[in-house]
Amino acid sequence: MSTRQAVIVGGNRTPFVKAGGAYAQASGHDLLTAALDGLVARFGLAGERLDEVVAGAVLKHTRDFNLTREAVLGSALDPHTPACDLQQACGTGLEAVIYLANKIRLGQAAVGIAGGVDSASDAPIVVGERWRRALLAASRARKPLQRAAAFAALRPRDLAPVPPGVVEPRTGLTMGESQALTTRRWGITREAQDELAAASHHHLARAWNEGFFDDLVTPYLGVARDTVLRPDTSVEALAKLTPVFGGAEGTMTAGNSTALTDGASVVLLAEESTARARNWPVLARVVDAQVAAVDHTTGEEDLLLAGRRAIPVLLARNGWALGDFAFIEIHEAFAATVLATIAALEADGVGTVDRAKLNVNGSSLAAGHPFAATGGRIVASLATMLAARGPGAKGLISICAAGGQAVTAILEAV
């Protein structure tokens, strides 16, 4: 067994902003570059060559085929820093951390950055299928007349762009519609969801006010705080919102579901002895990770509850129980996702999640959820919280992702 440890040294993210807001003109490339530059400045890495930068985005233009490498080239890092794009839906950011941690532990890297970015504002505009075929035909045409003919059959509606789809290809349901089925199946009440949502906002607001993010966020385009955050929201205010998923009896509203968000996050990882030699903070080590998938296509399993499969495997392999963790971070895709995950873990006999340890500095409902950036946000924040708690403090992360997957990991303060 290798004795090399991969440790979290620090992190950085942009403030997260509701799609169509202050970052509407910023591309994913811009956002990722900004997050990198903030981290570089925090650790004085300008001009330094790192072993690797790995990041990804869920919504990606074809022009961004080399998104991370291009962001490195646009950043203050030494251009000799290699980079890699990786994608696993909303699990991207955490999967990037795992990828890099594994390389570090295998001795293939000593210092690197992992992260993710998403801009719902900069989502690729896709042309319709008939328009695409006409374009192809026209490009094959040899004579102007043939070229004109290629477009002759087009109707005006064929020219309208296709909005970016977040539907599950195999069920045709959106994330929210899928979750609504889960919410009903697990009997998650509206009140419980609104309570969790309100708590997320209150926790995140407290963390901001305490300066928790001073060393974790760098302002971008004049925005200094997450704009989804509503510090004064309350269960009462949330109760007034009309449901958007689940039909007439639906319990899921815009208040207890994540908003489309723009943002980027990055995490600085290093091999432990390298970090110590540089006197970098050794916030937490990446102990272990596990991914799992459900078969949601049959309707038997819940799309966003793959965590119930991954977590028990992870706990068993490390010999820990849910009660051993100082903090538990379950990504708030929807309030009901978190509540159903907890209910499922209980039903499966895995254990109970102490709500006092859950998402204590807020999560995606309050911060927003720029898909691939959520993992980096959680890892950097959790590592900071664990370091403050002291050596031995452990944290569990579970992030659900499209396609019925979940990425989970354990961090431990050293």
Binding site: A34, D37, G38, V40, A41, R42, F43, G44, A46, G47, A76, G211, F213, D214, D215, V217, T218, P219, Y220, L221, G222, A224, R278, N279, W280, P281
Partner: protein, 470 residues
């Protein structure tokens, strides 16, 4: 730009303004650039330190002409004129450290008169005298003080961006103690410093820094040294960071978390690091030290800390509530005091080096008071008191504490002043213009120079000899 500003800055407006006496101000010589024209040395009886210092700086000197009756020639109307320099001199250094009698002051007049109309553009008059507080005898002390009035008048009468300054030397001061100061004053780095007098004393025991390098050459006195700059995200602070970096420093740029984006750009652009920190938090000093240790290693120490962050909350005292009062005093004065108190702990990882430099930013408002700035003026006068007190308190260690007091500097802060007022502030100094952020930065860098250990507990105005409080 207001209507009046548009008119006055148009070509027609400029011509009209010139006729009304608002001439285009001279373009000042800046940077590590020596004056054009020879450096004259008036080595008056009992002097010597200036000659030794200029030699150590590698500067050849020329003899000044003396305005003696026998040297005068009549002009076309038959009026006797002082002897005329064919080649316009770049600087006149007067070593008056041995002058003790009223009658001897005539020697200064003799060397000054011929240069007054012939000094090169951005020329220099530098007067060295013995510190009035350290000479014995009634006449000697009066004479030492007389030089101050003389120098200030020279500053006001000179034209073309030329400046005059006075150095009071304590007993035992040698070339190594004065070198960095003379180089600074001769070079363009002191462009906006005029009409000022400050003290130099022998460097403290334990000051192991090297003497100043040759004057007029590019130099990197901060090579490998860590310099912390607060309020570095913009304005004067960003210029300070750039200037120290030019001279080799490893920059730690500190500013409010909300200013993090531009802070990161400044830090990355200078290959330094950024610390997002509100300097008023109680553990600010510890956080600065921790950052230094984190970025530069556990053995790293701060060579210099530049307390530049500052705010204004202007209002007449009649309207001044406790909030506006407290915020200005906390940011501009108390935070700096707390941070220094933490960082001087020699055992602190990432704290101040044994030979460190502390510099603060006061203001001419603190010097003279200013309507509507009771809180600001109090805080900035407090900074002057603070560095003097810190210099005393640290007398046993080779750390120095000094401040600069900028006058009107062209920044976002002063661009917000209404045009007419701004034009008045900008023009009412001997150089007839506002200073640039780099002028403040250069003066701070001079004070932090490893060779400036003889300058301690001093406040230098960077105001172009502003008439306010001068």
């Amino acid at each position: 730009m207001g209507a009046l500003e548009s008119i006055l800055t148009s070509p027609l407006g400029r011509r009209a303004a010139a006729r009304a006496g608002l001439a285009e101000p001279p373009v000042l010589r800046r940077g590590r650039v020596l004056p054009e024209g020879p450096v004259l040395l008036a080595d008056l009886p009992g002097g010597g330190v200036a000659r030794a210092t200029l030699a150590a700086l590698g500067l050849p000197v020329a003899e000044p002409l003396l305005d003696l009756p026998e040297n005068r020639a009549a002009d076309e109307r038959g009026r006797p004129q002082p002897p005329r320099y064919e080649l316009r001199p770049g600087a006149l250094v007067i070593d008056a450290t041995g002058i003790r009698e009223v009658a001897q002051l005539e020697l200064l007049r003799q060397v000054l008169r011929p240069v007054m109309k012939r000094l090169a553009d951005s020329g220099r008059v530098i007067l060295l005298a013995t510190d009035a507080a350290t000479v014995d005898g009634v006449e000697a002390r009066a004479v030492a003080q007389a030089m101050d009035g003389l120098m200030r008048t020279v500053g006001k009468e000179l034209r073309g961006g030329a400046t005059a300054n006075l150095l009071w030397l304590a007993g035992g001061v040698g070339a190594d103690d004065v070198g960095s100061t003379l180089a600074f004053l001769l070079e363009g780095r002191s462009a906006f410093v005029s009409g000022q007098a400050w003290r130099i004393r022998p460097r403290k025991p334990g000051d192991r820094a090297a003497p100043s390098g040759p004057a007029g050459a590019s130099a990197r006195p901060f090579e490998g040294r860590i310099v912390v700059v607060t309020g570095a995200a913009r304005g004067i602070g960003a210029a300070i960071a750039r200037t120290f970096r030019r001279d080799g420093a490893e920059i730690v740029a500190v500013d409010m978390p909300a200013a993090g984006e531009s802070l990161a750009a400044v830090a990355n652009g200078l290959r330094g690091s950024a610390l997002q920190l509100d300097i008023t938090v109680p553990d600010a000093g510890a956080r600065i030290a921790a950052h230094v240790a984190r970025v530069h290693g556990s053995d790293a120490k701060i060579w210099a800390i530049v307390h530049n962050a500052g705010i204004t909350r202007d209002t007449m005292l009649a309207n001044l509530d406790e909030r506006r009062w407290a915020s200005v005093l906390d940011v501009n004065l108390a935070a700096e005091m707390r941070i220094n108190a933490t960082l001087v702990d020699a055992a602190l990882a990432g704290g101040l080096a044994e030979n460190a430099r502390i510099v603060g930013i006061a203001s001419t408002s603190g010097w003279a008071g200013n309507k509507g700035q009771a809180n600001y003026a109090a805080s900035k006068a407090g900074v002057m008191g603070l560095v003097r007190a810190e210099a005393d308190a640290l007398a046993g260690r080779p750390i120095t504490a000094n401040a600069v007091a900028p006058g009107f500097i062209e920044t976002d802060m002063t661009a917000a002043i209404p045009f007419v007022q701004r034009e008045i502030f900008r023009r009412t100094n001997s150089l007839a213009q506002g200073g640039q952020p780099v002028d403040v930065a250069e003066t701070l860098a001079y004070l932090c120079d490893p060779a400036s250990g003889g300058v301690d507990g001093q406040v230098i105005r960077v105001c172009g000899q502003n008439i306010i409080g001068a």
